[in-house]
Amino acid sequence: MNSPQLKLRGVRKRYASVTALRGVDITLAPGGSLAILGPNGAGKSTLLRVMAGLAHPTAGRIEFAGGKHDRGQVGYLGHATLLYPELTARENLIFAGRLYGVNSPQARADQLLAEEGLGEVAERRVGGFSRGMAQRLSIARARVHSPKLLLLDEPFTGLDEPAAQRLTERLTTLSAEGHGLVLTTHEISRAARLARSAVILVDGTVQESIDSDAMSEAELRAAYARALEAAP
């Protein structure tokens, strides 16, 4: 089950007084993985929100397998956890599952809780969770409907090393199974390990892009440095 091809053409996004994206073209092949790198305020998060169907592009197109965008095929992890503090971890996942029309949300919730190592705190309210626990639950939430394409905005934030390790392994597996993967991160080494292609975003523009099956960390670092230099 490969993810559908994701295609962005001339995507622009203007907020009240800033232009966050100014004509972005990206194509993610079926089952591909992409790292979005760039300095703070480059528009990485906006780009992910556009891909998720949360933000509507001011101009340009976004296509799924040549057709319309479908929110049901996308799993999104943002800066905020998207969780309800009044509900327990399990209830949060069941609720998210029902939003996506998952067949048996209870079973899916239990499965994800076990995978994320949150089984023991399943019945605890999320309001009392640490940043790392909330982040893990949030990742589980993004995967609740088994989306073909995962969009992760800084997924390693708040995770301790073992948890980050586990996440890296899980993402590698998912990617090998044919899931599409798009992530933003500051850690170039992780990006090189997880993604087969990369774009470097500066001031809302793609400055450099790498698309080779064997993207090396050194190659990525070099591209990053070039992109920063080239930017005005």
Partner: protein, 221 residues
């Protein structure tokens, strides 16, 4: 449809855990009953009884404003509203879920408030109860339809709580007119005029449609 039910369930469970919205609305409503006592001093009990439906609706209206504002304040924490917007399908169902939850919570408060007014102003609400309940139910549905849509907008502007009454009240005057006329008839033991119910039906329908279709644009970024 499932999305609407899921949101209804989620809102009711959250409210059951905290109970803050219902309690705040209820206390506010009781306070309103006391305010009216001081605002209308030395009234003949008979005259006051005739005024009760109008007073009751005044309390209902402002209590509803309070509850509607909170309804989306909760969704702003952790960008939960963004989480709802991610759900596939028509976003009108999200509106319906939120509106249904608001309707249930506000209705609970309204039943209790009616009891308080009945005691304070010595009005016997029981004979006209079915008529009163249908008018209140329909009127509140319209309030929740317009209120849920406008609260979702107001809460995302810089002025949050201030803006909702200004936006919502002008849209509620037709409901208020129909609901008060209907309630007065019910409390006086007369049958509820058909025009009242018809009017409330029409307004509910129109508001539900506008809000269902408009909610997509509200949630877009």
């Amino acid at each position: 449809m499932n999305v609407a039910l899921a949101i209804l369930w989620k809102d009711l469970v959250s409210e059951w855990r905290s109970r803050d919205r219902v309690v705040a609305m209820l206390i506010f409503s009781i306070l309103m009953a006391v305010v009216f006592h001081f605002a209308l001093p030395d009234q003949d009990p008979e005259a006051l009884r005739a005024l009760t439906p109008g007073l009751l609706w005044t309390a209902y209206l402002f209590a509803a404003l309070l509850g509607l504002n909170r309804s989306f304040a909760l969704e702003l924490e952790n960008d939960a509203l963004g989480g709802l917007a991610l759900a596939p399908g028509n976003r009108g169902w999200i509106f319906l879920g939120k509106a249904a939850a608001n309707w249930v919570l506000i209705s609970i408060v309204q039943v209790l408030t009616a009891g308080v007014f009945a005691v304070f102003y010595r009005v016997d609400l029981l004979p006209g109860l079915t008529g009163l309940a249908s008018v209140v139910g329909l009127g509140t549905l319209g309030i929740c339809a317009a209120g849920t849509l406008l609260a979702a907008m107001a809460v995302r502007t810089g002025f949050r709580e201030v803006l909702l009454p200004v936006l919502l009240l002008p849209a509620l005057f037709p409901i208020l007119a129909g609901a008060v006329q209907g309630s007065m008839a019910a409390v006086a033991g007369r049958p509820v005029p058909f025009e009242s119910l018809q009017l409330l039906f029409v307004i509910d329908g129109v508001y539900l449609i506008v809000a269902f279709l408009g909610f997509d644009y509200v949630l877009d970024e």
